[in-house]
């Protein structure tokens, strides 16, 4: 019993440690770009301190001793006695990796080397010794505290302020330097000012003694509104000054509102309502359109994005402070719960069907109530397994940092939609393909700084990793502003590999898709970075295994975007139940566009392809009965289910469309694992089994067969 308890506690430590290590890594990477941020230094220190304490408590002495050494050095940095340098961050990242190795060792993994331990510790000690020899730098924090003695109001809650300061044009002539006001503001707390310079005219129009610059400032301080206003007291009357509290960072019970970009710009007066509505309805990226159409300056958009980030950071800090409101549950327990709910959904379907047949009104209404509760239970159970994709995005920052350094490239990673939630199991399976895609961006996409400069691009390339919900799917995009794909080179290579013949006339999209074909990448081209024995074909296969799809868009010289469409969950989906003869099949509702009845006069054939006349335009369709060799009498009448196959419409001809169905997905046995076109099965209310069609695969196979047929003819 005692042994079991110890094992449980050790397992709990491992879990806690891996979270702490992830947080440590993120904080260190943030610290790299913001080395004076005391909050970040504190966060790093706290993570290391907890690792030490918990490690010692649960019998991981080696980890505790090592963390103790690292913590000593971090303590110096925390007290401004050691500067936060790249070297310090590198060593801390190495220490973090070493602790990870030590954890793996205790878990039966390869032993972590003692030499590496000692090397990191001695380098850290040398750093702290050097700092002591040189004399400690002046403490910025203590200076600020000293300066504020006697003037500081009672220390209240920390608040995040948005300030727009537009001084009077004549401010210089009044003898005031607005920049000094910014410096004064910075003494109140953590302050970032972004200047707007777009209104500075050319030499012919400028009055050199006028001020044309204005600022958006984000300030975090606990000194209160009055202290902030006091800074501007002498210029307030002649300036445009807006001070607004965006969030109370210490209020535990108050949610911080995350505003959309358009809302922030509207509040700031950088865009009017009419233009905002028009751009939003165009479904293009707001910031991009504003800058393109000259409706907003790039600086205003950037500044609003900056506010969004700051508010998000504040919300995260608040959430981690109130983490006591959550509990830790093993994921296998959640899996078991979801499985049980799945069974319940199946039984409930049976119940509804049976009560309907019995025709007892009271029973029917009770069954409907059970149905409603089951649906709620299902949604709640599914939401328990949902985790924000940001937990995975976080690890890419380290990947990008290390790889770009290795390849001598400068790459900035921007993540968007970190809060987008996906089923935990889907996120786990997405990790490897995304790593591969991001590696590809850095290795093949982003050019070296010199090459970029030659092409008049920023020296640093950008990779944007974004996620957003779209119906029952999540769209994940990996965009880089690198060299883009060269369709001629791809085609030449594909011809050389025998994937296509030189005579084939391919569209640009079809050429890009060749990159996803097995055998396109070869061992000769494998580099340390992107070549890990995994080609894009494996990425595609994994995504398809998740019932998702992958699409590549690229523009030579401008960059590449890979879009992944992934279903939210792998356990229960909304399906459309259809019938062929006496057999049932399920089409995932997420890809269904519409259903139409097929009459003989609407059906036609061209080059061996079946076509249906859909409101005047011709849509190719597949006769599912023939395709599945289902047997029975083949006819060209029935219902066509129009599906979205990667942006194109394709029809599936079935006998009957029954209706929508909550589909609890059951995996097929090993015997059927390699069956193409079928992705699983489900049990209907009466116990009948229905196969779930992998419609995207079906469409692709049908298209390939038809292409082959038309080549033969």
């Amino acid at each position: 019993m005692k042994g079991n308890y110890a094992d449980t506690m050790k397992a709990a430590f491992r879990e806690e440690a891996s979270e702490l290590l992830a947080e440590l890594e993120n904080s260190l990477l943030e610290l790299e770009g913001d080395s004076a941020n005391h909050e970040l230094i504190d966060r790093v220190f706290r993570a290391m301190h907890t690792l030490k304490g918990s490690g010692a408590m649960f019998g991981f002495e080696e980890i505790a001793d090592f963390a103790h050494e690292v913590e000593n050095v971090l303590d110096l940095a925390r007290n401004d006695r050691l500067p936060v340098t790249k070297e310090l961050i590198d060593l801390n990242l190495a220490a973090r990796d070493q602790i990870l190795d030590m954890l793996a060792t205790s878990d039966g993994g390869a032993p972590a080397t003692r030499e590496k331990n000692d090397r990191i510790v001695s380098q850290l000690q040398k750093l702290s010794l050097d700092a002591r020899m040189e004399g400690a730098p002046e403490s910025v924090a203590s200076e600020a505290a000293d300066a504020s003695d006697g003037t500081q109001a009672d220390s209240g809650d920390r608040e995040l302020y948005r300030i727009r300061f537009r001084p009077a044009a004549e401010i210089f002539l009044f003898g005031t330097n607005p920049v000094l006001l910014l410096k004064e503001l910075a003494e109140l707390g953590d302050c970032e000012a972004m200047a707007h310079t777009a209104e500075i005219p050319g030499l012919d129009e400028i009055n050199p003694e006028h001020c044309y610059t204005y600022w958006d400032i984000m300030l975090t301080t606990d000194r209160g509104m009055n202290a902030v206003r006091d800074v501007f007291v002498f210029v307030e009357d002649d300036s445009e000054l807006e001070i607004e509290v965006l969030a109370d960072l210490d209020a535990v019970d108050e949610d911080i509102t995350q505003k959309k970009l358009g809302q922030i710009l509207l509040e700031r007066g950088d865009i009017d309502e009419e233009n905002l509505r028009r751009i939003l309805s165009s479904k293009k990226l707001l910031g991009q359109v504003l800058v393109e159409e000259g409706l907003g300056e790039a600086e205003a958009v950037k500044s609003a994005l900056h506010e969004q980030r700051e508010v998000k950071r504040a919300e995260e800090a608040r959430q981690s402070a109130s983490s006591a409101s959550s509990i830790r549950v093993r994921s296998d327990k959640l899996d078991a719960l979801v499985n049980l709910v799945g069974e319940l959904v199946t039984v409930q379907a049976h119940l509804s069907q049976t009560t309907g047949e019995l025709g007892n009104g009271e029973l029917v209404s009770t069954a409907e109530e059970v149905e409603r509760l089951t649906a709620e239970l299902r949604d709640t159970a599914m939401s328990l397994r949902m985790v924000p994709i940001g937990s995975m995005f976080g690890k890419f920052r380290r990947l990008v940092r290390d790889l770009s350094g290795q390849l001598g490239k400068e790459v900035e990673l921007i993540t968007e939609g970190d809060d987008t939630e996906l089923d935990k199991s889907v996120i786990e399976r997405l990790s490897d393909p995304l790593v591969h895609l991001v590696r590809n961006c850095i290795d093949h996409g982003i050019e070296s700084p010199d090459v970029r400069a030659k092409h008049h691009k920023e020296r640093a390339g950008t990779i944007i990793l974004s996620a957003e919900h779209s119906g029952a799917q999540v769209l994940i995009q990996i965009t880089d502003d690198g060299a883009g794909l060269n369709s001629r080179e791809i085609l030449t290579k594909a011809v050389a590999r025998g994937l296509v013949s030189p005579q084939d006339e391919l569209s640009e999209k079809e050429i890009f898709d060749l990159v996803l074909a097995p055998g396109f990448s070869t061992a000769q081209e494998v580099t340390d970075v992107s070549g890990r024995g995994v080609g894009m074909d494996v990425v595609k296969k994994t995504i398809e295994g998740l019932r998702g799809s992958l699409e590549i868009e690229s523009s030579e010289g401008e960059g590449t975007t890979v879009t992944l469409k992934i279903p939210l969950t792998m356990a229960i989906i909304e399906g459309l139940l259809v019938k062929l003869g006496d057999d049932f099949f399920v089409v995932p509702l997420a890809v269904v566009r519409e259903c139409v009845e097929l009459s003989p006069e609407d059906a036609s054939r061209s080059n061996g392809r079946r076509l249906v006349n859909l409101r005047g335009s011709l849509l190719p369709y597949v006769n599912l009965r023939e395709f599945l060799a289902h047997g029975g009498e083949s006819s060209e009448t029935g219902h066509v289910v129009v599906i979205d196959a990667g942006g194109r419409g394709v029809g599936l001809l079935v006998d009957e469309v029954i209706g929508s169905l909550q589909t609890v997905i059951k995996n097929l046995g090993r015997m059927y694992q390699d069956l193409e076109g079928v992705s699983g099965a489900t049990i209907l209310g009466d116990g009948t089994i229905a196969l779930i069609l992998d419609v995207l695969k079906l469409a692709a196979i049908a298209e390939a067969e038809e292409t082959a047929m038309s080549h033969q003819t």
């Binding site: 920049v179 000012a193 972004m194 310079t197 400028i206 790039a298 600086e299």
Partner: protein, 118 residues
């Protein structure tokens, strides 16, 4: 005190390139003077080279003038470059004003950074 020197590199005509060297206190007190010299030089030449040397003080008005030169040069299809930006007082003024630098100035800042030579 401010010192403005105007000349051209050896072997180049004023029409092709003018080098304008600015020293001393580049502040609003001398903004009119600097504006006059910069305007005249940019109208006369195809490539205006602004060189900062022994700069004692810089303020926002001067930073605005630099951005104004850049805007005019772009509009006229001419070239304007700035060197000597590593001067301590210039760096301090730029950082404090939130004008340049990736962290502060954002898009415009990063763009300007690549324009200004250390």
């Amino acid at each position: 005190m401010i010192d403005i020197k105007v000349g051209s590199p050896k072997g180049e005509s004023r029409k092709d390139r003018i080098r304008l060297t600015l020293s001393g206190r580049l502040t609003v007190n001398h903004a009119l003077e600097m504006h006059g010299a910069l305007s005249e030089a940019l109208h006369e030449t195809q490539h205006l080279e602004i060189k900062l040397k022994k700069v004692e003080e810089t303020d926002l008005s001067f930073l605005q003038l630099l951005l104004s030169v850049r805007k005019s040069a772009q509009a006229l299809g001419k070239e304007a470059t700035v060197s000597g930006c590593a001067e301590e007082s210039f760096q301090a003024a730029a950082a404090d004003s939130g004008l340049f630098g990736r962290e502060h100035g954002g898009v415009e800042g990063a763009d300007i950074l690549s324009w200004l030579e250390a």
